[in-house]
Symmetry: C2
Subunit: 194 residues, 2 copies
């Protein structure tokens, strides 16, 4: 597994939304009362620029959901190809069925100083959100809104507010979900000049 | 410009959400009283599987927004590399400033039989949504919810419920927004086996 923690740099608040612009599949994570869980989530999306807000669709069946509702905080990270297997395990097994799911996944968990949110090493970016409670959205649509408290990215793939996948090893690409166990990586840069 | 209309096939309702799973940049389009507009939108996301629902963030400044609010319908399409320039024009110029913006963009507009929603030729997929009115979300977050009425995709890149970019010409890739005029194309397929 690629240990990206050494390469993590804080992302400016006004550039953090760009981490999610590309539509990569994420991992939503949370902890409450010492119980933590991480789950893949493809349905995450920027909602506002500054303060950077996000929407995340989190079904009622997920163990992670009450951890968010009770703690009021959650994390989103963007796994790379190098940890796609660990991500898949976190998505295939529910903590409802297997209490030591996270330990068995192979994911190496770490935390950012000052924040009690579990993250998996090997991701391209990490974001911490404070839940913006919206009971109607949560109950009716399983839709959660968060306001960003901090964001970090691997400087090998995101620098000065821009993704630079073309300068990095392909194993550091984000993954983009199709269905089943099928994903795409990011491709080539394409600049549109009018 | 690639004329993809000949290759368009209906997508099964229970597979339509997969069109948006990969996180491609879209074009939101609408018409009211004969006035139409199209605008790129990176902040679009699946909300529910079946009926397939979507969220789209549409700022108050956009000419397209009142067309959606008044008509109650909107379209989302996923432009390919082949029409990225036309998409960029639609995003750079506002119809508030230039009334014949759509005509000048170079976009070739067409409609699906039975639906009065303007779409640009050359996209990888097309979806038509009925607005699910949620006044609080629209006013507070610029967040719109739609329920899908129909979806079509270019069979050269999406077949039997799956994206197949690896079998198609690179010009048919979707585009994934970073910032400014900078995008990424879809990369290689990556299957995760546990």
């Amino acid at each position: 597994m690629v240990q990206t923690v050494d390469f993590l740099k804080e992302v400016q608040p006004d550039k953090s939304y760009r981490l999610l612009n590309i539509g990569a599949t994420g991992i939503v994570s949370a902890v409450h009362d010492g119980v933590e869980d991480l789950m893949p989530a493809a349905w995450i999306c920027p909602l506002d620029l500054l303060p950077f807000k996000v929407t995340a669709v989190i079904d009622k069946s997920h163990f992670t959901r009450p951890l968010i509702e009770k703690s009021g905080f959650f994390g989103i990270s963007l796994p790379t190809v190098s940890v796609a297997k660990e991500m898949m395990y976190l998505g295939t097994i529910s903590k409802n069925d297997e209490k030591d799911k996270v330990e068995k996944s192979g994911a190496e968990i770490f935390r950012f100083p000052g924040y009690d949110i579990p993250f998996m090493r090997g991701c391209a970016a990490y974001m911490i959100f404070k839940l913006v409670p919206e009971e109607h959205n949560q109950k009716t649509y399983d839709l959660f809104i968060g306001e960003c408290l901090g964001a970090w990215a691997d400087e090998r793939v995101f620098r000065d507010g821009h993704w630079i996948f073309e300068q990095a090893d392909p194993s550091l690409s984000t993954v983009h979900y199709v269905a089943g166990s099928h994903f795409y990586t990011m491709g080539r840069p394409h600049d549109v000049l009018l």
